[in-house]
């Protein structure tokens, strides 16, 4: 009976470094940031004088931050459904026993393998609207296709702003939803579809009544992952647009970065970070609890 005890100790020892590291670098650091957000630390010199919620009050009064919150809500609200819908449609198309399925799938998914900075640089120039001297990028393409009326200022137009970033982000991430849905479609038992067809359901009916309900869990988890990516949006905006005219492409992560590491206002930066954490938690925690319950039951 000595062996199991020793093994138990060894198992804990194997886990210990990671547990400590996670405890410190995730939970400890979040606590530290939370505390820093309640202090007066507004220069390179740390100043841990407690000031209560003053940094948060200030933050909500700053127009730039109000715009950022609106932007990130707009972005997330467009990005998730666009990725899901595009991903679902592509998956359904690929599910029709097409030739070259592997090639198509690879093409739809490859943007995920490259850095958001690369995406940002490419789309920065593609969506450069051009000047009086002539249209650039996508605008030039639209001109060439006789669709000149669709030309616009993209990310340089404050009315479009963050929505132009959705195009680039959707390009990068919709393949993810496609891959998820395709895996889901493949796991729908053929007999179920056949049964529905025998019951007189058309192809659309099969999707509506059989396939879609089975894909609901996939939609949920894909939406959560995409939502988390959306709320943390940073590198793409930095490399593609910066804060934009009138902060029309600004996001909390960029404001946090500039506040903290450019203006050295650490307490304010920590406050933005904590609010970002709250936003993500509102999205993810219910999902994790849900998943965790399933795990235990399983």
């Amino acid at each position: 009976m000595r062996r199991p005890t020793r093994d138990r100790l060894v198992s804990l020892a194997l886990l210990a470094p990671s547990v400590i590291v996670i405890a410190v670098f995730v939970y400890g650091f979040i606590a530290f940031s939370g505390y820093a957000s309640l202090t007066r630390w507004d220069s390179l010199m740390p100043d841990f004088t407690f000031v209560g919620l003053r940094n948060y009050e200030r933050l909500f009064a700053i127009p730039r931050f109000q715009i950022d919150l609106g932007n990130i809500v707009t972005f997330t609200g467009l990005f998730i459904p666009i990725c899901l819908i595009v991903g679902f449609l592509l998956a359904v198309l690929l599910d029709q026993r097409v030739r070259g399925e592997n090639l198509f799938r690879s093409i739809f998914l490859f943007p995920m393998a490259i850095s958001a900075v690369v995406t940002g640089v490419a789309w920065r120039w593609m969506l450069d609207p051009g000047t009086a001297g002539g249209a650039h990028g996508v605008n030039a393409l639209l001109d060439g296709a006789g669709l000149g009326f669709l030309k616009n200022g993209w990310y340089t137009d404050p009315a479009i702003g963050i929505k132009a970033v959705v195009i680039a982000a959707g390009w990068q991430m919709s393949g993810y939803a496609m891959a998820m849905y395709l895996a889901g479609l493949r796991s729908v038992p053929q007999e179920l579809r056949e049964a529905a067809r025998i019951d007189g359901a058309g192809e659309l009916g099969v999707y509506r009544h059989v396939v879609l309900p089975l894909l609901r869990p996939i939609t949920l988890s894909a939406a959560i992952i995409l939502g988390q990516i959306a709320l943390n949006l940073f590198a793409l905006v930095v490399s593609m647009t910066g804060p934009g005219p009138g902060f029309s492409t600004d996001v909390p992560a960029l404001f946090m970065f500039e506040t903290t590491f450019r203006a050295s206002n650490f307490a304010q930066g920590a406050a933005i970070a904590m609010l970002m954490l709250v936003l993500v938690a509102l999205l993810v925690v219910p999902y994790l609890i849900h998943t965790f319950r399933h795990e235990v039951r399983a």
Partner: protein
């Protein structure tokens, strides 16, 4: 299967570092001791090159005339100090904003360069001078710089009664550039006041010419150009008072400046949000727009394009005032090679150094005794103005970084939204938050 060995060994290392981190973090949370240790006490970062001494000079001069000027100074330095290897730690990007973020993290991280570029004036506050920088009073005395830099400039450089940086060049921010051909064709003269400006603009607009070139996709141009407008509205003393609390931002002249700025935008090229400042300057070169209000690095841009058909005048309402944008070098505490770093600062403030740098960079000397035959026509006229005009600081020199950030954000938002009352309230609030206004 030998690879397995790396596992356990790695784990021990992790355990140790994690424990260390735990201790460090705990200390910072429970006590009020600074979490960032004094740079002098911290060892060089793991990446710091060991071995032969290297002089690391940090700047955001990565390209064009700026980089050429910096290289010219390196050459002079190498000639004076053979055997010193200079590392050019330049960081590219928007008027130094990337570089400033990098520098702040390096100083806070205990990994300072030997000397670094900073805008002369209160921009040093970004780097907590009392903790991270060396005062340079002795150097100023030894080099006799208080005799060769103008008095107004010297007072801009002082903070807490000490000098913290050595200015190497001077740029002027409040210049009206215009396309001479367009002005001649339409029988116009460069406007001296904003009333004139709008008259000229109307005349040009009637002819279908874009009166005013503007480009603000860099994010900083909005606030920068607005300083010229503020100057035109408040004059030198009123403007300086904005940054010291002597003038309140609630002053009607600030509202007037905002109105003027808003009106100017209606005469600008429609695609200004897609253009950077050089894109706007190109409109003058191409004869697509008539006037451009910008710093005199635009002069370097015109020259680099082989364009000679431009004229210049002080921005409307700012004749006799010189809006100073000056690059300087500062000396961080904990520099790895303090002796050579000091020698670098000596060079930056010297006649030889400034005469090597400025003709290439397209700026003028911060000293008033440089050989003017080295410079072009524009620079000669700027140098004459610099010696005689009232000098006022640009924002980067006039306020602490927290305030500058707030100010820039307010103006950037104003340019897009155009709400004068809201902008004025926010500008005053920024001043109050900075502890300067009541």
């Amino acid at each position: 299967m030998k690879r397995r060995l790396t596992g356990p060994r790695g784990l021990v290392g992790f355990l140790a570092t994690a424990a260390l981190a735990f201790a460090a973090c705990g200390g910072a949370v429970t006590t009020t001791a600074p979490a960032v240790s004094a740079p002098a006490a911290s060892a060089p970062a793991a990446s710091a090159p060991a071995g032969e001494p290297k002089l690391e000079i940090f700047s955001w001069w990565t390209a064009g005339g700026e980089a050429e000027g910096l290289n010219a100074m390196f050459d002079v330095f190498k000639a004076q100090h053979s055997g010193v290897d200079i590392v050019n730690a330049a960081v590219a990007g928007g008027a130094g904003s990337n570089a400033k973020a990098v520098l702040a993290t390096r100083l806070a991280g205990g990994d300072p360069p030997d000397a670094f570029q900073v805008h002369a004036g209160l921009e040093i506050l970004t780097y907590s001078p009392d903790q991270y920088l060396q005062p340079l009073d002795d150097l100023y005395a030894a080099q006799g710089w208080d005799k060769v830099f103008p008095k107004d400039l010297l007072s801009l450089l002082k903070y807490n009664g000490h000098y913290w940086s050595v200015p190497v060049n001077i740029h002027r921010g409040n210049v009206l550039w215009y396309n001479k051909q367009i002005f001649a064709d339409n029988g116009l003269t460069p406007p001296k006041t904003f009333d004139d400006f709008f008259k000229v603009a109307d005349a040009l607009k009637a002819k279908g010419i874009t009166p005013y070139a503007f480009g603000n996709n860099g994010g900083w141009e909005d606030a920068f150009t607005f300083e010229s407008v503020l100057l035109g509205s408040l004059g030198a003393d009123g403007y300086k008072g904005l940054w010291t609390g002597a003038t309140q931002w609630t002053d009607p002249r600030v509202a007037q400046a905002l109105e003027t700025y808003k009106k100017m935008a209606t005469y600008a090229n429609a695609d200004h949000a897609a253009l950077s400042w050089d894109g706007a300057a190109q409109l003058i070169v191409d004869g697509k727009a008539a006037m451009f209000i910008h710093g005199d690095w635009a002069n370097g841009y015109f020259l680099s394009k082989g364009f000679a058909g431009y004229g210049w005048a002080p921005a409307p309402g700012t004749s006799g005032i010189f809006h100073v944008v000056s690059d300087a070098f500062a000396l961080p505490k904990g520099a790895k090679d303090p002796q050579n770093a000091q020698a670098w600062l000596e060079l930056a403030g010297s006649k030889a150094g400034q005469e090597a740098f400025n003709p290439k960079k397209g700026s003028i000397c911060a000293r008033t005794d440089c050989d003017q035959s080295l410079f072009g026509d524009y620079s000669k006229s700027a140098a004459a103005d610099f010696a005689s005009n009232a000098l006022v600081p640009g924002t980067d020199a006039a306020a602490n970084p927290k305030w500058i950030t707030a100010y820039k954000d307010v103006v950037a938002l104003f340019v897009s939204k155009g709400d004068v009352a809201a902008a004025q309230t926010a500008l005053q609030q920024a001043c109050v938050d900075a502890g300067v206004c009541k």
